[in-house]
Symmetry: D2
């Protein structure tokens, strides 16, 4: 059995606490030796969970001599700075999504990671959901032939607060970014063009800062497939996460997970359960598999399954989507990022 | 193409009218040249449908020189007498179920059919339902291996009138008889023993004449499989017709047909359609395929897929079921019918 | 009971024969007194079905003094000329879709119908499919609140021949036109803008004449909803016809009809039936309900549920879609048709 | 928040280890202060999990002055002796099922628990499965009206070893006992009579010691409902755990949990995932909820939701089932246990 991997955790907010709990209870081989957060309340959580050292200073984690890998769960603006510091300190990195909303910042993280020979894995946890990862395997194995049409439905149960939305970076970088990553993951192909039609149908007030809450996004892939994502910030029946890929030899379809498998029949209808309420329930297992995969990636010295390039492209698609919405036209990825600089030619 | 088969129809009640409509509209190769009924109202129906000759006398149909096959839709007590007459007149016979509730009567029909070399097909239309016939093919092809457990759920939407029930012959010969035939059809095996537990849970008044409206019936088959049928006279959500067969290599399950494939989701549940309301809707296609098969059986000179033996055994199982209910014990088929007389040895 | 409606049928090709069979077998109150077709073979079909008079001349049907309503199943180029003639002869009209591919022609039919005070109903039979019509009722009754996102999946099992495609008018007017009508029907709202992304992924040869076989179409509705249609000419698993509408209070989803409701489980998977193979099976009932509705519309003097305006708008959306594909941009309906001329202001 | 409950665990086999892991990782308020097992290997597991004291002697756990509740996971023959000792030592008790296979032994445990005023909860974990517990709530709330027919399907993926089976006590006390408890739980009614039809269809060798592997069990309930359980030791498609209850106002149906919600369609069929493989996966959550409920029962001083009476009745039904199989007749519960001794009158 591999020796334990010594981990430092930065950020003990909601997602940081989830990762910490999973590392301690469900992921053998991971040992959290230090955690940091600016809030004293969260320190208690980590100490109770058994983390031997808790600090206010992220730098202490980043530079701790025994730490082999850091897990960055800080607010987004700190993702790239901490990534760069961690890379220079020769720590492997697990970073929450999005890496950043600026392409330049992401590219600087990319350089730091590559120059220092460390691994970086991004927290696109949905890739590890059993429904979606099984479909990806089917597609990769040729089970549906050449992909023609990808359909993703991704609807939240409730919009976040106006306050949150104001600084969220917009629906594409805040919410659809998961779907952009999923689109690349399932098709195994890069996106070439983006077209968006959207509106603020749930809360028109968000138009004031240029945001929308309902979107239909058309993606064109390098391999010829066409994708369509529909997003909404409010589905009254719960968290709606479905995906379908249609190709020359068949179709694969992932339906929602429901709260139970019971149907009650009366003289009016059959009544079945709603979907799981939100991402914590739906992706509970995916969070664990995601972190386990990170630990294995390092222990078995394998390439990161979700690397800086994946983070870069998801953000680039998000920026193109915003541009398409603003300008009412199809936007090519090339307009947003000179692909030759990253060795791509779509 | 085969030459038209000239048909005489006896009985223009509900089921007779269904058969007539199907013969005229959906079954090429069938030509109804004469029909009979004791009621003058039904004559109009037949004449309008294009039957050239309508009579009050069944005998005129049975002895019509041009009639090649008769379809007997008269009340049950006339099934055997008409069958015997038709056989002697060398007409092929399609007869509604049950052939009779008396074993002796059925055996006399059997003799008449065999002696006169005509074909008889019984109207166990459910065998021609696409769900059930597809499962039968899977089982016959070995798709589930050796059958171990058969489950049939068969529930009506509403009980018939007390008046009807009083002369129905009891739930087993009136309603479960379809399930007994289905059990033999799906397993491809004879029933050896019957055990029944039942009660009048919907309308206790029917206990007065020894009937029940809720039953669980356990069947033991010659091939070792065990079957269970559950019957109810009243399912508020509609006609419930499901079947499952489980074996050494797998399981085949037929779910209900619903009124539509729509699901409406609100913030409480997903609401889906009820089942098709009753047998006319559920078995609409099966009635057609059943009659078409009869026509083909004669035109292509093939053995009848549902013959007198099938009618006999369904009735025998029904009689054994009633005996089991009355005596509170398992009843073997042999107790009801000396199987050696029909060349069987279970 | 209403007196029979005397009908003349023009065109005895595949769809004409379906309509004739339905009129004779399933639609009481309809009486086909004359039918026409240029091909002598089809005459036999009509005569055998009991049509008393069959002719080579459409004009004979259009001018027959006893004919009250005509059913036009001729090739598309004859739809408008026959409509205009029928209107002038004061016959009510049932016409197969599309009315025409030219807006001017459709407007001329519109004038003729209005000036002569006859009813015209277009054969958008899918509106009468039980799944889709039930969803329309739910939406109209406010069951899903304000519509936000409409999703239509419409995929054929196999592409038509190259020869057919060459003169089909393109995928939008030949195939998607049904979906355009469905989109307006379900949302109860006019389309304002169309955006298309498409390609010839199944047979690149059709690009030679400017056609595609795979399309994703984004529609913007007057009521603010956004729609997305995905079309393919080839789904190996059968005819794929699904629809979903999502709104402020819920979601309604229509799944495919399958060949049966059987699932076979082995040690690898659960195996269930494919979808119904093509439109004849899937829309068998819808064809009947559609024609029945036409007969009732006339007998009960009700407004046509699918009128010339519906035919016009479906064609206009199709033309806009082709323009969007050709020019790679969103096209507004106003660009294709000056809406003020038909009293609309989107 | 309640003060931690100090727990002693007896038995560190498979189920003991599951309970220990759940107590430590998922059940706040529970504190395992001592554990015992006869095997030294299991000691390491407990120590690593953080149990401060591990011993070979169950007695040390039972008499530990700080232990407030014991969790008994020892082999079945020790359940009653340890329960009696724990009760005398005034410890609350969670005991794995079955309590015992002897009625006398169970009654002695009952006395000890009652005399010493401690709580006992039995590990019938399936009651805490979300599907089944939701159905129980619907039934209790009158959602299906008066219960008429209960159907339980309970099939294992693979039979245990012959060695295990030889000392298992037979299918009824080893496997069906869960279904007997479920039947009482769902209907909220006592069982009056049992009838069994069964056979050794998977491995005839087990007939040598009087066991079977395939069973259909008919139960009659005090409230008039009739139940049917079908059991098999080998379902090639995975663990099959379904339940349906049908009543005067409707029906509730719990389908299996599948491995994922993906369907792959090719030109042959739609292929969906198998069921969860076995009880560890299917009842993973139920195990946690079950133990949490035990902790709450004590901390909030509530009556045990699964008490000695429940354990007694499940065993009594099992004994009656075996008697029915042996004697080929319906067996009443009263034949097995003089119900007046426990204050029941069925």
């Amino acid at each position: 059995m591999a020796k334990n991997l010594k981990i430092g955790l930065i950020g003990l907010g909601r997602i940081g606490q989830i990762h910490l709990t999973n590392l301690i209870n469900h992921i053998p081989g991971a040992e959290v030796i230090i955690a940091s957060d600016v809030s004293p309340q969260s320190h208690e959580f980590a100490l109770k969970a058994g983390v031997p050292r808790v600090t206010f200073e992220a730098e202490e984690v980043l530079n701790h001599p025994d730490v082999e890998a850091v897990i960055i769960c800080s607010p987004t603006p700190f993702h790239v700075p901490y990534t760069v510091q961690a890379a220079r300190a020769k720590k492997h990195i697990f970073c929450e999504k999005p890496l950043d909303t600026s392409i330049e910042a992401i590219l600087s993280a990319k350089s730091a990671v590559e120059e220092n020979g460390v691994k970086l894995m991004l927290g696109f946890n949905r890739r590890f959901d059993v429904n979606f990862s099984n479909i990806q395997k089917v597609v990769e194995a040729g089970g549906i032939g050449e992909p023609h049409i990808l359909r993703i439905t991704s609807r939240d149960p409730n919009p976040p607060s106006l306050e949150y939305l104001r600084s969220s970076g917009g629906i594409f970088l805040d919410m659809s970014i998961h779907d952009f990553d999923m689109a690349r993951f399932i098709t195994g192909s890069e996106v070439k063009e983006v077209f968006v039609k959207g509106d603020a149908l749930i809360n028109p007030a968000i138009k004031d800062f240029g945001d929308i809450d309902t979107a239909v996004i058309v993606l064109t892939f390098e391999n010829g497939a066409i994708g369509v994502i529909d997003n909404s910030r409010k589905a009254v029946y719960g968290y709606d996460q479905r995906l379908e890929i249609f190709g020359s030899k068949g179709m694969a379809n992932a339906d929602n997970n429901k709260l139970d498998n019971v149907t009650i029949y009366d003289d009016k209808a059959g009544h079945s359960a709603l979907t799981q309420p939100f991402f914590l329930e739906r992706y509970e297992q995916a969070y664990r598999v995601c972190l386990k995969t990170f630990i294995q990636t390092i222990q078995e010295d394998k390439p990161s399954p979700v690397d800086v390039h994946d983070g870069l492209m998801a953000t680039v698609i998000g920026i193109a989507a915003q541009k398409s919405l603003n300008e009412g036209r199809t936007v090519s990825i090339e307009e947003v990022l000179d692909l030759s600089t990253i060795g791509l030619n779509l």
